[in-house]
């Protein structure tokens, strides 16, 4: 389990990631994979920008009256025979889940993919208490075998190459039970995992899923998947537990439809994921399948504290992963370097809120503020603005280095004196331009070693922008 301390080691972890050949091979696939697929999906759908606005409006409705929607959700869920549990902290949520399981003598729990379970460290806790946890999403299953954490929110094992997955299956699968799969192609491996997990779905006494959203007007939980593992998880066992954070509740199914219209397109580049399932309460008296009990654990874990702050817009996130799929930093270092559950730009915006600016201060700095994440975010979350907010908090709490503070103070002093600033930069640009000589680049430069250690610094043109502007008019 990731305890959060790793988020503080981003610089070291990212340096290691850059030298990891398997990881780099896996990350190279992002461009032709997720990025190209999203671009195609958006180009096919003329109404995408309007759909984004509608999705943002749906989530804005959620957040402005969150208390009311949560109460409505609870009441409707109860009317349909469901039970709602409230948890303020990860420890509370873990305890609620454990008691639900132990009270019913559950030995094996099947699990659909849920980031909230990662956030609260559920698997380790349940296993320590004698409950077997069966991850059923293929990516989650792979990293469970590898005893690793997910490195992406929708493709947990994106950092693994096919030969690595084949090795894991060779080590862990009983050859007789798995049948003999050649393990030469991804299709072979998918077939092998299917064969191994098929029986396990039926053996589980309880199933746990997350929720892409909850619906207040009907008291339902909704999951969006492609594999069908989530549906087997929430249909076959006698007990279904839904684990969701409070900001996931939307007022109506029509609001949910607005989110569905942008979710799969942004995530996997599909117009619609294979399965979108609305679950409402336990099996009805006339039903012949479905769980006998339906429980929803509503977790706060810092969400309520974010309301009304400059970072509250992260609560609109629908966990599509588009920001990380398009982030040059994520694309270079992968998800593990971020050190906690949510990697990439959304992690850089959310983790400081959940773990504190002290533990996560590097993450909002792991961005050139290029803005690609905000451009692709279907929920129009102003991620770079939120990074800047956390950077200001870091500075205000004096968590950044003395050298950084000195540099910023010096720059601030100059920038507040426009004439002096223009004079100094004008001189510096001319001098640097002359020094650069014919190559027009610097191999090394005083005070710029951080830049020139890994690449050349292009020489300035000789005139500042303001000089050029004046000459133009």
């Amino acid at each position: 389990m990731m305890d959060g301390a790793a988020a503080a080691r981003f610089p070291e972890a990212s340096a290691r990631a850059l030298g990891d050949e398997n990881l780099q091979a896996a990350l190279r696939l992002l461009g032709e994979g997720f990025q190209a697929r999203r671009t195609d999906a958006v180009e096919r759908f003329a109404g995408f920008e309007d759909a984004r606005d509608a999705a943002v409006a749906a989530k804005t409705r959620t957040l402005r009256n969150l208390d009311r929607h949560l109460e409505t959700f609870e009441a409707r869920c109860r009317e349909h025979g469901g039970v709602v549990h409230w948890a303020e902290t990860p420890a509370d949520a873990r305890q609620i889940v454990l008691e639900l399981l132990t009270d019913r003598g559950v030995r094996a729990l099947s699990k659909g993919k849920t980031m909230v379970a990662e956030e609260i460290g559920l698997n380790g806790f349940l296993e320590a208490n004698g409950i077997e946890v069966i991850e059923t999403d293929l990516g989650e299953y792979i990293i469970q075998l590898a005893e690793e954490a997910p490195s992406h929110i929708i493709v947990p094992a994106i950092h693994k190459t096919m030969p690595q997955v084949a090795d894991l299956f060779r080590q862990h699968h009983d050859q007789a039970k798995a049948g003999s799969f050649p393990r030469r192609t991804p299709a072979d491996l998918v077939a092998e995992a299917r064969a191994v997990l098929r029986r396990r779905f039926l053996e589980a006494d309880a199933g746990l899923t997350g929720a892409n959203f909850l619906v207040a007007e009907t008291g339902s939980s909704v999951i969006v998947t492609n594999e069908g593992n989530g549906d087997l998880t929430q249909t076959l066992p006698q007990l279904h537990i839904v684990l969701a954070t409070i900001e996931k509740v939307v007022p109506t199914l029509a609001d949910g439809a607005a989110i569905l219209r942008v979710l799969a397109r942004s995530a996997t580049g599909q117009d619609m994921s294979a399965y979108t399932t609305v679950s409402t309460g336990p099996r009805r008296p006339s039903d012949v399948d479905g769980p006998a009990e339906y429980h929803v654990v509503l977790l706060d874990n810092g969400r309520s504290r974010l309301l009304g702050t400059p970072a509250e817009e992260v609560l609109r996130c629908i966990r599509c992963g588009a920001c990380m799929n398009h982030c040059p930093v994520y694309g270079a270092v992968g998800g593990h370097a971020y050190g906690w559950v949510y990697p990439g730009p959304i992690g850089a915006a959310l983790t400081p809120a959940l773990l504190g600016v002290g533990a996560a201060r590097h993450l909002p700095n792991a961005s050139s503020l290029c803005g690609r994440c905000e451009e692709v975010c279907p929920m129009r979350i102003p991620l770079p603005k939120i990074f800047r907010y956390w950077r200001e908090q870091e500075h205000a709490a004096r968590l950044n280095s003395e050298r950084m503070r000195l540099g910023l103070a010096l720059w601030g002093w100059f920038a507040a004196r426009p004439r002096l600033y223009r004079l100094a930069t004008g001189v510096a640009m001319r001098v640097l331009s002359r020094l650069a000589g014919r190559s027009r680049r610097f191999r090394s430069l005083v005070l710029a070693s951080g830049w020139t250690r890994s690449r050349d610094l292009p020489a300035p043109a000789g005139r500042t922008f303001l000089n050029s502007w004046k000459r133009r008019s």
């Binding site: 696939l29 409006a57 749906a58 804005t60 409705r61 402005r64 009256n65 969150l66 208390d67 949560l70 349909h80 549990h85 409230w86 509370d92 609620i96 999403d137 293929l138 990516g139 792979i142 493709v155 991804p186 491996l189 998918v190 077939a191 995992a193 299917r194 029986r199 039926l202 009907t218 492609n226 594999e227 069908g228 593992n229 549906d231 929430q234 249909t235 076959l236 109506t252 029509a254 949910g256 439809a257 607005a258 996997t268 599909q270 117009d271 619609m272 294979a274 399965y275 979108t276 399932t277 609305v278 409402t280 336990p282 006339s286 039903d287 399948d289 479905g290 706060d300 309520s304 504290r305």
Partner: protein, 212 residues
Amino acid sequence: MSGARERILTRVRERLGSAPEEPAPSPEPREARSGDVGEFCRRLQAAGASVERIAEDAVPQAVARYLAERNLAARVKVSPALANLGWAEEPLLETAFGVADLADAAAVMPAALGVSETGSLVHASAGDNPTTNHFLPDHAIAVVAEETVCADLEAAFSAATGPAIPRAICLITGPSRTGDIEQRIELGAHGPRSLHVLVTAPVPERGPASAT
């Protein structure tokens, strides 16, 4: 956790302030506008399903033909909601009615609605239409009437939820798939490896059945 509920709701209210600006209301539920059946079929195919348009009294024959063409055993689990389709007319097709289990390679189940916007089937769980039957067998054969195809997700949700919401409403758009290994799309992760959809047209009274 006693008190957690009150503490969370109180904190939310404090943070939102006493007079939160009123956002625009949720969109009104839409009438079940009729969708474009051709568009529905095209989108389902694009999502990896195979689609066949038949007369509503020709389901057993279409199922038998599909299994034969795929070299699958002539044996299906049929959701009880479809028990009265005249299965006896296909004596070589072995049928069983009820909930599917691991021994079932293929199952036939009804979809309550189609959605042309997305090419989705809407499966509504019921005593005679168990959810398990779609997800457990390798091959799913879904039957949907063309007159149920509605235009968009909102219309489908409002039609599927009233008057009593079923335990599970599943929008199904193609067979099971995964991209978890090197981002390559593979079919048949945990749900059905193949999805065949029989889109049925009403049989004109007294007229001969004709496949279109």
